[in-house]
């Protein structure tokens, strides 16, 4: 009897010890040998937008670096806050990371209540992938040949000129509102849905006076001479559209692009964070990634870790100003 219970006790002790060792080695191994299985990369937008190609390129290169599968998963909805929230709320084990944009990370927390993040402190900044500047294009047969023509008419006739944007308070809407604010204009933005396609179509069909969007979706029409680009909302020349006037050359130079970033949930083990950051740095600084960005109209602007965090904090202040302008204007 006694022998039996001793045996049982010993068995229990052994089991507990084994489990503890297994558990310890498991977690130590998990951090050291990361990654040992597939990584999921959430994209908070529907496939087909400007975010999809860049995410898939990053995932492809990450796959090569880490030697595991990186599965791109689109989780669209609620102005990209659903997919972004899914990353931020995920278990911080390095197997769930994702894409965030300056809109979903910095703008939406100001407008939406109840999100899991309020500032850049609430998630782990890994690396900035790129910027994508907003462009303003008008139908090819429009009477405005330059941005100055357009702004002069907008100034003379407040609330007469209409510009289509892909969604109310999307970055391309905010950029036009910023121009309104700086130049004292009242250009009306008309929100369309459907990822920029309908907004472009409205300009092509002459239902609006211009369209504010991104070059990758509009380049086909621009090259074909159906749309004319009046301005690109960045400081210097835009490689993809060298003839477009950068807003940096006008008095209303304070503008912003949409930025795309890789984020992870807070609380990643140190070893994983360091490895992921190092690998991402290699990727965004690689020639292959840079030439991909250039060919597709993205601007390379590698910012790693805290540099990226700082940039997002800066956006927070800018967005607050625009929101104040919009509220005053109501």
């Amino acid at each position: 009897m006694r022998f039996q219970s001793n045996l049982r006790r010993a068995a229990w002790a052994g089991f507990v010890l084994l489990a503890a060792v297994a558990g310890l080695s498991q977690s130590a191994r998990a951090a050291d040998e990361w990654p040992t299985r597939d990584i999921t990369f959430y994209v908070p937008y529907a496939p087909g937008g400007s975010t999809d190609p860049i995410s898939r390129k990053y995932a492809e290169l990450l796959e090569k670096q880490l030697k595991v599968k990186v599965i791109v998963e689109n989780k669209p909805g609620a102005s990209a806050t659903i997919g972004t929230g899914a990353v931020i709320r995920a278990t911080p084990d390095g197997y769930t990371i994702g894409l965030g944009s300056s809109s979903s990370l910095a703008y939406q927390p100001l407008e939406m209540k109840g999100l899991a993040w309020k500032s850049a402190n609430d998630y782990q900044s890994i690396a900035k992938l790129s910027d994508l500047p907003v462009i303003l294009a008008v139908p090819a047969d429009a009477r405005w040949k330059t941005l100055d023509d357009f702004i002069a008419e907008a100034k003379a006739n407040p609330r007469k000129l209409k510009v289509s944007v892909s969604g109310l308070r999307s970055i391309n809407d905010i950029v036009i509102q910023q121009l309104n604010k700086l130049a004292g204009l009242r250009i009306v933005t008309v929100p369309f849905t459907g990822g920029g396609g309908e907004a472009t179509l409205a300009a092509l069909g002459g239902r609006v006076d211009g369209s504010s969007g991104f070059a990758p979706g509009m380049k086909g029409q621009i090259d074909a001479g159906k749309l004319r680009v009046l301005a690109v909302f960045q400081q210097g020349k835009y490689d993809l559209l060298p003839d477009a006037k950068p807003i940096g050359e006008t008095p209303w130079k304070d503008t912003f692009p949409v930025g795309y970033y890789v984020i992870a949930p807070n609380g990643l083990p140190k070893a994983i964070l360091e490895k992921l950051t190092a690998v991402s740095k290699t990727i965004v600084e690689s020639d292959e990634f840079k030439s991909f960005l250039k060919a597709n109209g993205y601007t390379s602007d590698p910012k790693i870790g805290d540099d990226m965090k700082q940039e997002l904090a800066g956006y927070d202040a800018k967005f607050r100003d625009v929101i104040k302008f919009l509220d005053d204007d109501k």
Binding site: G48, S79, L204, K219
Partner: protein, 505 residues
Amino acid sequence: MNSLQGLLYGLQIAATPTNLLAAFVGAFAGTAIGVLPGLGPVAGVALILPLTFSLDPTAGLIMMAGIFYGSMYGGSTTAILLNIPGESASVVTAIDGYQLAKKGRAGATLTIVAVGSFVGGTLAVVGVMMFSSSLANLAILFGPAEFFALTAGGLIVMSRISGGTLASALLPMTLGLMLGTIGQEAVTGETRFTFGIPDLAEGVSLVPVVVGLYGFAELMLLVEDRAHAANRPESVKMRDLLPTRTEWKRAVPSWLRGTFLGFLFGLVPGPAATLASFAAYRLEKATSKYADEIGTGAIEGVAGPEAANNSAATASLVPLLALGIPFTPIAALMISAMLVQGIQPGPLLITQHPEIFWGLIASAYIGNVMLLALNIPMVGVWVSLLRIPHYLFIPLLLVLSVIGTYSVRNSIFDVWVLLAAGIVGYAFNKLKFQLAPLVVGLILGPNIEKHFREALFLSDGDPWIYVQSPIAVTVWLLVAAILIAGFIARRRAAFADAMAQESSL
């Protein structure tokens, strides 16, 4: 390069071993994916997207197109055999297709569908080839007001899609509209009716509702009633796999009507394939000589919509290729594939990358032939699936529909929606409410609202915008004409009935 030269050039490209293989793999995988409930064309193309990056662009796009056609076709198989539409475009196919299957005509119906898909797809390719440059601009003419006319008018016309009394259709339809308002709306981004559930912010998605409403409800009917289950055909003779002469003869005009209608819908941006199949069903009810039989198992009710949805799927390549603007999730995925490969879709595609433009068109011919060759022999296999014992088959299908539903958005919540929709579908079945109008409402509701509000934003609050363009006015007049014609037809039928009763007295 004129169209014929272009096509010959395209055939040269599409007929290389790599591209033929891509078309075959696409058509095959597409059919397999389409047959699985819940996994529709979008899921299929999305799953294959990463794979295309390693192929050359032409082969990648050909494979995606193959999956698209294949799954459009495959979705009707389960609709006919089991009353489980594989995707939303097959909802109307289920109405008559399932009745035909119950009469032992499953094989014949599947053959009619395969050939109808081929006819619709092939004729639409000819149309795309001949008119693509001139029709591309049609999409540009459509703005919010025109879309509003199309979708709201469509809702009115299609409210009576599946017969029955008006109340039996109106109630489910408005429930569908209501479900469509849940979640974050598209225009100003307000979140509605989510009760604090984050999953609801994305809205109620179509797949779990369709699979639940039809498939799950049907399976529940099978579970509850063994007598009903025993009614299944034990074995199907070879003769029954082929349509009879009459069936062929009745299918031809429906194919042609469906193809024409589907082509028009495909040119207009929007959920073309689904709308085209619903509209074609409605058209068959209005024009077919056998309109009385539709709803109770008429070959026209299957032939028209199936030709229409494949024709629309093909025609929707026109706005995709010529404008470079995606209007459906599938088109968006194809554009994504082009961009990753460094190809800029748009009006210049045909001159800058003729190999892609003509290769894709030519592959649509080849893909349609392959689908036909692949699926006619499969008809026997599909029909024999019905002979699997129910205690194996029902659990298997339940698991499949869960996997399919889950995979669309990777959401366990959607699986609960499937269950809820199944219970509603079961109750509506028992209480003789129509199910198809609910699906119509859910599809069209968000579109109607979006275009309605976008139009007001655009006109700065001027409501006259809805009737200012010739296209919008034409659409509204058509809707009125269809309603009046239907009213007169019903009155006449009632009058004839009354006369018949009187004379028999």
